[in-house]
């Protein structure tokens, strides 16, 4: 609504933008470009300025993200000494990946983290719907409370949850015992450890998902609801037939984001589970195994190969999601 208003007021500017959009590649028409920028000194200077302002981010991206990816790819074909220095070993690391039983179970665990992590989306959706309405009393307090875990350090979160999950003195089992259930040793029992980690994972991302979905809900034009109301749709029907379909782009984004996050689960496992835990084999993720191999066992080359395979998996899973989204995401 407000967006429309400003565009209407800035009428001339709006039409100038429209003329720009009409030329196929933005600045391809130099005459139009010069006229548009008015005070400028030609397209070349403007390109240089653009590069200049992009440089800090661009250089950072190159040095801290892209170059390490290239290096990691190279290192995945090498074997490392305990204090650096490496020799080229060809495909040896990838061959041993195939025969590593710990890796296949870690991939299975990671798959479970992804699936359980997706359960957080319906929860966030309900929260977004409830806390998305304006004017309710104390709504911003609850929004803040739900968002707090997102900005809390994962290590701190995990330490607090370690206390909550404690099988002898923890609050979770204490509450369960009030209703007559003898709770397990959540993080030390191989049957529950993975679920316990996943619950903390969901708890700490629900706030982020909620904010994204809330923005999505607020972006749905009021007119659809008015039309639905005229047709006699109640709140539930409105939610199912208007909100949900028009929210699918936001849900899709949250889903992609949540799956990539789950594929990279590490810090929670590192702090919650720990190395001398009988439940570790049943709960360690690929990244945990990567940490174990590259930094504890000093198999840097092997770790690099593992990281690279995980990167391919992330790309494949995300690609698959983008293919499948055509079937269920509606861009209103």
């Amino acid at each position: 609504m407000t967006e429309m208003a400003t565009r209407d007021v800035a009428g001339p500017a709006g039409s100038r933008n429209a003329s720009r959009a009409a030329s196929p590649k933005g600045g391809a028409a130099p005459a139009a470009g010069r006229r548009r920028r008015g005070r400028g000194r030609g397209p070349n200077t403007s390109a240089w300025w653009a590069l200049f302002f992009l440089a800090p981010t661009g250089i950072g991206l190159g040095v801290f993200y892209i170059w390490p990816v290239i290096q990691t790819f190279y290192y995945s074909f090498t074997s490392w000494g305990p204090f650096g220095g490496h020799t080229f070993t060809g495909l040896a690391n990838y061959r041993s990946l195939l025969h590593d039983p710990a890796l296949s179970s870690a991939f299975l665990n990671t798959l479970w983290y992804c699936l359980l992590g997706l359960l957080g989306i319906p929860v966030s959706l309900v929260l977004a719907q409830v806390l998305g309405r304006r004017g309710r009393k104390g709504v911003s307090v609850y929004r803040t409370l739900m968002f707090l875990p997102v900005i809390t350090m994962p290590a701190a979160v995990a330490i607090v949850w370690r206390w909550l999950y404690n099988g002898d003195y923890g609050l979770v089992d204490e509450l369960l015992s009030k209703v007559g259930i003898k709770g397990p040793y959540w993080i030390s029992d191989p049957h529950t450890a993975l679920i316990a980690v996943a619950i903390v994972g969901i708890w700490s991302t629900v706030g982020y998902n909620m904010v994204v979905l809330m923005a999505g809900i607020q972006g749905i034009p009021r007119t659809y609801y008015e039309a639905a109301e005229l047709d006699g749709a109640g709140p539930v029907r409105q939610f199912l037939s208007v909100t949900l379909p028009l929210l699918t782009p936001s849900i899709f984004f949250v889903m992609v984001y949540s799956v990539i996050g789950s594929l990279q689960t590490f810090d929670l496992i590192y702090v919650l589970i720990g190395p001398t835990n009988a439940a570790l084999p049943q709960s360690q993720s690929v990244i945990y195994l990567f940490y174990q191999d590259s930094f504890i066992n000093n198999n840097r080359g092997y770790g690099a190969a593992m990281a690279f395979v995980l990167m391919l998996v992330v790309i494949a899973v995300t690609g698959l999601q983008f293919r499948l989204q055509k079937r269920w995401v509606h861009y209103g």
Binding site: P82, F83, Y185, I187, F295, I296
Partner: protein, 418 residues
């Protein structure tokens, strides 16, 4: 327009400058003649003692400043090895037995032959622990043995006589059973899944070994070693110790300090923490470990070492020398944190906490067994954690877990080469 440009330029320059600032925080720095050394340690309870030693050193050497880098033990060696790989390890740092040979063999430590260290000033087992290829690489800082800590109040409540220096395994097991009171959540002992304080000691007491004398093969497959492991797994199976899951949720030392464990196998270094806790200040005492087939305890100690690639070798050596001096050892002994390695200062430590029978830790010296190490100790330490976990959570027999550990450890040792 002009003002905008200037503002933009300034902003991007500021960004570049802050990036450059990040990269210059190397291992050490010097300005105006004053040199700052980094000293890495892992034990928080010893931090104040180290701080006092540094204060004394800085007083004698006003041009050298020493900063402590405290990293919890769980991450200490991971961080150190990563820093050393990048050529930026601290100038002087703590070293322990399991990691020493890895660093010495790979040229990460500065040889100390030129310092003129009088090796007779330190226990010979500690000097040989930190000697590699006939060269001394570390000056012994302290040493420790393991003792039987017990909670007097829980013994009184159960009507069991306090442990004595004559206790055998059978006496210990009988007492553990009598002291266990599950209704109150009290256990006789905590069977911690820990080598140095627990199963290494019992393996040695049973007449077994962890690694062969030549350091080339595992000792876990011998019947004696297996009975040393069973000592603990039997206590868990009988319920006289909490289960592995319980001990994973709450550390055994925390259980002991909160009066839920009657006995705890702990090191001489625990005295300072127990004395500082109201629950254990005067409620607990210590004696020698019980006797199995024979008497034994693990002896181990730390050393201070100098990083081979330090930017300030002279200053680092000066600090190293001071750390190995009698003056430093006396400061350490006074605080009662650990038994100083400098001969003649140990009695000061014994007197630091008169309420505990700390002499027991020194009485064990004649039969103390050096901590088992090899060139890449960490490789088979990781196997101990994974394989023995299966015996401790009772999903496998001690013999089966030991057999698996032994074959994995032999493979790891074969990789070490000579």
């Amino acid at each position: 327009m002009r003002a905008h440009k200037i503002a933009a330029l300034t902003a991007s320059l500021a960004l570049t400058a802050s990036v450059a600032a990040c990269s210059s925080s190397g291992s050490s720095s010097s300005d105006g003649g004053q040199v700052t050394l980094n000293y890495a340690i892992w034990d928080q309870t010893q931090e104040s003692a180290m701080q006092k030693i540094i204060a004394a050193f800085e007083k004698q050497n006003p041009d050298i400043k020493v900063d402590i880098q405290l990293t919890p033990y769980a991450d200490y060696f991971t961080k150190l090895q990563t820093a050393a790989s990048g050529g930026s390890a601290p100038d002087v740092f703590w070293m322990n037995g399991p990691n020493f040979q890895l660093y010495a063999a790979n040229g990460q430590l500065m040889p100390l032959s030129s310092l003129g260290v009088k090796t007779a000033d330190y226990p010979s087992s500690m000097v040989s622990l930190y000697t590699y290829g006939n060269t001394l690489y570390g000056i012994p800082k302290d040493f420790d043995t393991v003792g039987l800590w017990y909670n007097k109040a829980l013994f009184d409540a159960a009507g069991v006589a306090y442990p004595t220096a004559n206790w055998t395994w059978a006496d210990f097991q009988a007492a553990a059973a009598k002291l266990t009171d599950k209704a109150k959540g009290v256990y006789g002992v905590g069977a911690t899944l820990e080598g140095q304080e627990d199963y290494y000691d019992t393996i040695f007491q049973a007449g077994g070994q962890v690694i062969s004398a030549d350091g080339k093969s595992s000792g876990y497959d011998s019947p004696a070693s297996i009975s040393g492991i069973q000592f603990w797994t039997n206590l868990i199976a009988k319920g006289d110790s909490p289960s592995l899951a319980q001990m994973n949720d709450t550390a055994t030392i925390d259980m002991f300090e909160s009066g839920k464990l009657a006995m705890y196998w702990g090191g001489s270094w625990d005295a300072v923490a127990f004395a500082g806790n109201a629950n254990t200040k005067s409620n607990v005492d210590v004696t020698v470990l019980p006797e199995g087939v024979k008497r034994a305890t693990v002896i181990h100690g730390l050393a201070n070492v100098v990083y081979a690639k330090t930017a300030h070798p002279q200053q680092a050596e000066k600090f190293e020398q001071f750390l190995g001096s009698q003056q430093a050892a006396d400061i350490e002994a006074d605080t009662g944190t650990v038994i100083p390695a400098y001969n003649g200062t140990q009695q000061t430590w014994v007197k630091a906490y008169p309420q505990y029978d700390l002499q027991s830790f020194l009485d064990e010296l004649p039969y103390a067994v050096p901590y088992p190490i090899s060139k890449d100790t960490a490789a088979w330490n990781a196997l101990e954690a994974t394989d023995l976990t299966k015996a401790w959570d009772l999903s496998e027999s001690a013999a089966a877990a030991a057999a698996q550990l032994s074959s994995g450890m032999n493979q790891a040792l074969a990789k070490e080469g000579s």
